[in-house]
């Protein structure tokens, strides 16, 4: 078959196609997002963005009950949202095979925590595969659909950033020609989880895990690589690659199925070595289970729990040729991520900073409102939390402080899990202010569509949720929509909302500069007239990457300069200048 270079996420998508999947559902989240974006190239798969992960999994479960093979994808924290259906679906089992790909983010490259999703496999009593490269991402995921149907269980496939976003060579497989038959089949004893039915299903779940543990001992995805017999290592996922790199002559038990563990295989392997290591990223998940079997291993007493592993960190943990890097001899200015030039969020945070608001934040590009010089975010917990956090804070503050509380949430995050918080705010008579930053896309994950953008995953037009109408329907009397590029008006409207002793919603509406559909036409770049610039630095307070301070030489005054290659003419800086120093370029 054809060989090609694929990322882990491209391989997951390919696996779904090869396995005869016809339904795919997800909510975008780094590092999982590209799986569904790649799935849309396969015409026979009905792929869609759900408003949140719980809905995505529920859609998947429905399709499975209808007989279809189904894939659902999300990032690690998405499983927290989808945990409710997941745990009960473990009891009911499937009709068509269902695979949930969950992508963890050790090191938190783009996440608020680094929870280890393998714990969900054990908690929900669901088997979990863990590939170590793109080829395994394809092979294990494809196999997972067979396993799902064979053992009547949803199957988890765990990825991590270094699997999802690494590319390696993959040999493609032949896609299934015949798709599973779909249709209505009534089986209430299996699918209606009333206590009486659930009590019947639970023992079946326990039995399934026992059977799988035994079965997994003889399957190719759990394999032993013989070395020189001196050292035994148990590992899985990308950690296997680091173990192989650092210990080229070790004997390695590489687990492809990380739950349930192949207990007998582990016992046999362990009995051969005086020294046995478990090398795994994040939690001591394998280690604790192996220790519970009465086997002595070295693991997290040497290998860090926090952060991702690297070849260097594994070397250091076991003192194998540890290297000290010679750093450069000066402290370098950091380069943290920043909002883009022309980002509609920038001025909102500038206003919140000036109004000294206490901002309960949320998850999205706008979380960057935390960064200086905007420095206007005080909390950020999880998707949708801003609104509930604001309600709770308001309950315990005096009248003056209460006015300072402003929840900030994006359009996609509001529809994800923000609506319930707003419902509670009105229902329980809170007085806080909510800003919905509507940039017409799900920005941070790479501009995905959502129910308020008017487009579906495959680019078809769709009904566009009316955010103002939703807020009013929840009982918010004061809903104001503004253009966040209007500096004075933005601040005035937010100030008024903060003063009002009842719930107010301000929707700041302006599309993301990177939006895919209805592409934003950028305006002509600006310039700074150096003679008029008095070096007050007011324009620098918005932290736009297009504006740079130029120090004056030999005691002369400095001035601001605009990089016209990246300025897109939003004119927010221009409105902040009291000296008329900004002009629009001629051409």
């Amino acid at each position: 078959m054809q060989k090609t270079v694929l990322s882990g996420n491209e391989a997951f998508a390919r696996a779904a196609y090869e396995a005869g999947v016809t339904v795919a559902s997800a909510y975008p989240g780094t590092p999982s997002t590209e799986i569904l974006e790649n799935i849309i190239q396969y015409d026979r798969i009905d792929a869609s963005w759900a408003p949140n992960e719980k809905v995505a999994l529920e859609v998947g479960i429905g399709a499975s009950i209808g007989g279809a093979r189904t894939i659902v994808t999300m990032k690690h924290v998405g499983v927290n949202v989808a945990a409710d259906p997941l745990f009960t679906f473990s009891y009911t089992g499937v009709r068509g095979g269902l695979v949930l790909v969950v992508a963890d983010d050790p090191e938190m490259h783009s996440s608020q925590d680094e929870q280890d999703s393998r714990q969900y496999a054990r908690f929900a009593k669901v088997p979990m595969f863990e590939p170590a490269d793109s080829q395994e991402a394809l092979d294990f995921t494809r196999l997972a659909f067979d396993v799902s149907e064979q053992f009547d269980t949803p199957v988890l496939v765990r990825s991590t950033t270094r699997i999802s976003h690494s590319k390696s060579i993959v040999e493609l497989g032949e896609p299934l020609a015949e798709l599973p038959e779909t249709g209505l089949v009534r089986d209430p004893g299996k699918f209606v989880m009333l206590p009486s039915n659930a009590r019947v299903r639970h023992p079946m779940v326990e039995k399934r895990l026992e059977e799988m543990s035994e079965w997994a001992c003889s399957q190719g995805f759990n394999r032993i690589e013989e070395g020189d017999g001196q050292l035994g290592i148990i590992t899985s996922g990308v950690a296997y690659q680091y173990a192989r790199e650092v210990f080229p002559t070790a004997d390695i038990l590489k687990l492809g199925l990380v739950y349930p563990l192949p207990k007998q295989m582990i016992r046999d392997f362990a009995s051969r070595y005086k020294t046995l290591y478990v090398i795994e990223e994040l939690d001591p998940f394998i280690e604790e289970q192996v220790k519970a079997m009465g086997i002595l291993v070295t693991g997290k007493d040497k290998v860090p729990i926090c952060g991702e592993l690297t070849p260097g960190r594994v070397r250091e943990a076991f003192s194998v040729n540890p290297q000290t890097l010679e750093s450069v001899e000066e402290t370098l200015p950091p380069r943290p991520p920043n909002m883009c030039p022309g980002c509609p969020h920038r001025n909102v945070f500038h206003a919140l900073n000036r109004l000294k608001a206490y901002v309960t934040g949320d998850i999205g590009c706008y979380t960057l409102g935390f960064m200086p010089p905007l420095s206007a975010m005080d909390t950020c917990i999880c998707m949708g939390a801003s609104i509930g956090n604001a309600t709770g804070l308001s309950k315990v503050l005096n009248e003056e402080e209460r006015k300072k509380v402003v929840a900030v949430i994006g359009d996609s995050t509001f529809l994800h899990t923000g609506i319930n918080g707003l419902m509670d705010m009105v229902y329980n008579k809170s007085t806080a202010t909510v800003l919905i930053l509507d940039n017409s896309t799900t920005g941070m994950t790479g501009r995905q569509d959502n129910p308020s953008t008017g487009y579906t995953l495959d680019g078809e037009t769709a009904y566009q949720v009316d955010l103002e109408a939703i807020c009013r329907a929840l009982g918010v009397k004061h809903v104001v929509t503004i253009d966040p590029f209007q500096v004075d008006n933005t601040r005035a409207v937010i100030r008024e909302a903060m003063e009002r002793p009842e719930v107010s919603v301000v929707i700041t509406r302006r599309p993301c500069v990177l939006i895919k559909h209805d592409v934003v036409k950028t305006s002509t770049p600006l310039y700074v007239d150096q003679d008029k610039c008095v070096a007050c630095k007011a324009c620098l307070t918005i932290g736009c990457p297009a504006i740079e301070w130029v120090s004056g030489k030999d005691g002369e005054k400095g001035h601001c300069r605009i990089d016209r290659l990246i300025c897109n003419g939003c004119q927010v800086c221009m409105q902040l200048c009291k000296f008329d120093a900004f002009g629009v370029c001629d051409d």
């Binding site: 490259h109 783009s110 070849p311 260097g312 890097l325 883009c340 200086p372 990457p545």
Partner: protein, 194 residues
Amino acid sequence: MTDNKITNIMMAGVGGQGTLLASEILSEVLMQAGYDVKKAEVHGMAQRGGSVVSHVRFGKKVYSPIIPEGEADVLFGFELLETYRYLPQVKKTGAVVVNNLRIAPPSVALGKAEYPQDIDRKLKQRVDKVRIVDGLGLAEQAGNSKAINTVLLGALSNTLEPSHEQWIAAIKSLVPERFQDLNLKAFELGRQVG
């Protein structure tokens, strides 16, 4: 390729500069030249104008997708400061190929920190082979300022094993026909720098 010698290329730049696209072409060239290839990078929040790094590794059999610390053979930089930042990752006997471009990070833009001076000299102090490439100038000479990536790949190509023909073949197979002449010209101009 009898022994398993792995070559490590670390690419550094600023989010939005198109390093991902360049690493894509690079890994395709290497696969077509018959190597096992892995590449690793991060997407998402880091891409919003922040410091970005890609790892490309090739050889007979590659395990880790990320380069072991301090073992980069080539540091391939799209911006001076970001290249300097990752200098400790490159072997002394290695090479640096860097675009002669300066993008101010926020603290510099705000006038609160200085952009490091004489980066070219500091790179040369630490690493044997350093090539500073006028990416923008050569791209404009090739006919379009957007061809910087291909210019830089051309400069990089001198330091790597695949032959001239293999590079040309890969570019022809990856770049749409109407952009091929431009990109081949940009590649050659970059390649002449070395």
